[in-house]
């Protein structure tokens, strides 16, 4: 994972709440077995509308998405994060993220920046009155700013540290392999195993 410290790019106002992962990427795009190339599925249904924000200049080249509350609800599909990243988004700003989406974003270097809804509203107004406004997201200072506007955002310390360092979880966990071995030794022997059993 690439380390993330700060990012500056065109902000995109998405005035919708409950942007579920079926909207971010419909299931029909989940059939691929690769990890890249999901940008064509991003907001696929909405992008068929020429007035959709990502079909308009200069939002088309946006990299900071500013969305309504409850972003990323629904399915666990990490493809939602891949689609946003593959399109070019580095940050999503929202007042509330679904838990699984937030976790998935943190694993893939996409910053899920949680702001007050009032800050989201201000950003929306700014991005709509001055399309193409650059938004800067500073993960060190935990601030999102554009023109004269600056707001704090929340991201948990552990995710922030991993994003800043570009660390991947599996190698971090494997440092504790001895603890895992010890835990396995102590598990009750009646816990289920999936090894096939002759079925009638």
């Amino acid at each position: 994972m690439e380390p993330f410290t700060t990012h500056t790019g065109v902000g995109v106002p998405l005035r919708r709440s409950n942007v579920d992962t079926d909207q971010i990427i419909p299931a029909v795009y989940l059939k691929r077995v690769t990890r890249t190339g999901f940008e064509d599925g991003l907001f696929a249904a909405w992008r068929s509308d020429e007035h959709f924000v990502l079909n308009r200049e200069p939002y088309r080249a946006g990299s900071v998405l500013v969305a309504g509350p409850d972003f990323g609800t629904g399915s666990s599909r990490e493809h939602a994060v891949w689609a946003l990243s593959d399109y070019g988004f580095r940050v999503v700003v929202s007042a509330r993220f679904a838990d699984i989406f937030r976790g998935n974003a943190g694993k893939q270097g996409l910053v899920a920046a949680e702001c007050e809804q009032s800050d989201v509203e201000q950003l929306w107004k700014l991005l709509e009155t001055e399309p193409g406004t650059q938004v800067t997201v500073d993960l060190v200072e935990k601030t999102v700013s554009a023109k004269d506007f600056t707001a704090r955002f929340f991201v948990d310390d552990y995710t922030r540290w991993r994003l800043l360092e570009g660390l991947d979880d599996i190698s971090l966990t494997l440092r504790h392999e001895a603890d895992i071995d010890a835990f396995e030794q102590a598990r009750p022997n009646w816990k289920p195993v999936t090894t096939p059993i002759a079925t009638p």
Binding site: N18, T73, I100
Partner: protein, 481 residues
């Protein structure tokens, strides 16, 4: 101070306590795998030269992509076929047990785990699917994960996690006849909202929950994610033990006694406190249906389509306006007058044997309305076989419904079972998102009883709306007018 059920299961699985900002490392007892969210995870292992650490705690099935007719033929869609073939290759290479399309144990991953007896009280269960919350019905801590986490569990059999907050959903009193677990959970979601459970594990409790069968408990826990909660749980009791006893992977003999003794401890202590509490009166509930495009947009079937102008909160008002435009509904329309093209009975929410029995009891001797198609899709091949042994297939076929093979089917637009643009369904599945059942499709979430009654009348209905329209008396097509 006492602990909640969720805290007890959590504490039993901590491999290593995180210090400071670091999360706890939690051991995973059971990892369920399917074809959609696993290929990139297997690829990651391959690239890093890592094995699946515990293939004996891992099991795979094919469900999301599979067609539900013509399963003896190759999958027609080449992209779906590649994904299924990739799962088969990966499972063979990494030594993971797989139940492929056509196999006697194949089915939706959340139906297969419980029926094999793999889902047990006090276990931690994960799957790259948000409806993993289903397994919480057994008192397991079960939640959906993303593909990076799938790879993490494959490589380490653990997950780094921060403790959840806990929320009690207490359902008091007694459900009225014709009111089901689906109505309970739809009402809960409408009450707390699609974000109300975010960051929480929900524990469903109270007399109305204790009376539910295991199938009904699974329906409730299944939709916890629709309230934003990653997991929902119900304390195990005699109903749970009775369901598990004798299942292929349930403990046997002395192991059974040891397991049950341990499971009996899995109850929230009297002096434990929840971070939040919600109370629902079971007796106040009636059949519930959704009118909008998120599962929180639901109302009793007796209500009318809401008027967005009367909604005070601006975000909710805008969301309601967009939902009604997408759903092509006018404010004030009685929900009972909404006609449907398709009825879908199935999914990990309502594709188990009890659901099929309940719907069959309503539809027995009646006909599916003219111009309506009804798909009946068992959640697993075992459920299908059980239903056939009880003659339920004949009931559905005689009514004019389609009797299909097992899979996720019309719950999501990933396989051939989809709505056409503009088509409207009454569906026993879990999500009414825009395009969820096919691009442009419109979904009303309902219970199996409402699904069956709706199929007969052609408009959203409950069994009590059906009077003497048994076949032979009259054809039910007239009811559509």
């Amino acid at each position: 101070m006492g602990k909640t059920l969720a805290e007890k299961v959590w504490d039993q699985h901590v491999v290593r306590r995180g210090d400071g900002a670091e999360p706890d490392l939690l051991y995973i007892d059971l990892h369920l795998v399917h074809e959609v969210t696993s290929p990139q995870a297997f690829d990651g292992l391959r690239l890093a030269g890592r094995p699946v650490r515990r293939p004996d705690l891992t099991i795979a099935t094919e469900d999301h992509n599979v067609p539900t007719i013509g399963i003896d033929l190759p999958i027609a869609d080449p992209v779906s076929r590649t994904q299924v073939d990739t799962l088969r290759r990966n499972c063979a290479e990494f030594g993971v047990r797989l139940h492929p399309m056509g196999d006697v144990e194949q089915g939706i991953v959340h139906v297969v785990g419980p029926q094999l007896g793999l889902t047990q009280p006090g276990t931690t269960v994960v799957c790259g699917d948000s409806h993993t919350s289903t397994h919480g019905a057994f008192g397991a801590l079960a939640f959906g994960i993303g593909t990076s986490e799938v790879e993490h569990v494959m490589a380490t059999q653990t997950l780094p996690l921060r403790p959840f907050k806990t929320m009690a959903i207490t359902v008091t009193g007694e459900l009225r006849p014709g009111v089901t677990a689906k109505d309970v959970i739809l009402a809960v979601i409408a009450k707390i909202g699609t974000g109300g459970g975010q960051g929480y594990v929900l524990e469903y409790r109270g007399p109305a929950i204790e009376k539910l069968s295991m199938e009904a408990r699974m329906t409730v826990c299944n939709m916890s994610i629709e309230a934003g909660a990653r997991a929902g749980m119900i304390a195990p009791d005699e109903t749970t033990f009775e369901y598990l006893k004798g299942r292929p992977h349930a403990p046997q003999g002395a192991d059974w006694d040891a397991a049950v003794a341990s499971w009996r401890e899995l109850r929230t202590d009297d002096d434990a406190t929840f971070d939040a509490e919600v109370v629902v009166d079971a007796a106040s509930l009636t059949p519930f249906v959704t009118w909008g495009t998120n599962p929180g947009q639901g109302l009793p079937l007796s209500a009318t389509v809401p008027d967005p102008e009367l909604i005070a909160d601006e975000n909710e008002r805008v969301a309601a306006e967009k939902a009604l435009a997408y759903m092509d509904l006018a404010p004030g329309t009685p929900l009972r007058e909404i006609g449907v093209d398709t009825v879908f009975l199935g999914s990990c929410t309502n594709g188990r044997i009890e659901d099929l029995r309940a719907a069959a009891d309503v539809i027995r001797g009646r006909r599916v309305a003219e111009g309506v198609r009804m798909l009946v899709v068992p959640g697993s091949m075992r459920v299908r076989a059980q239903a056939e042994s009880e003659g339920l297939d004949a009931v559905f076929l005689a009514a004019g419904a389609e009797w299909r093979q097992a899979g996720c089917s019309m719950c999501l637009g990933m396989n051939p079972d989809q709505l056409a643009p503009g088509e409207r369904s009454a569906s026993t599945s879990n999500r009414n998102f825009e395009g969820r059942q096919g691009k442009g499709g419109r979904t009303h979430l309902v219970s199996p009883l409402v699904a069956a009654a709706t199929a007969v009348r052609g408009t959203l209905s409950s069994p009590e709306d059906l009077s003497d329209d048994l076949v032979g008396a009259a054809t039910s097509g007239d009811d559509r007018n």
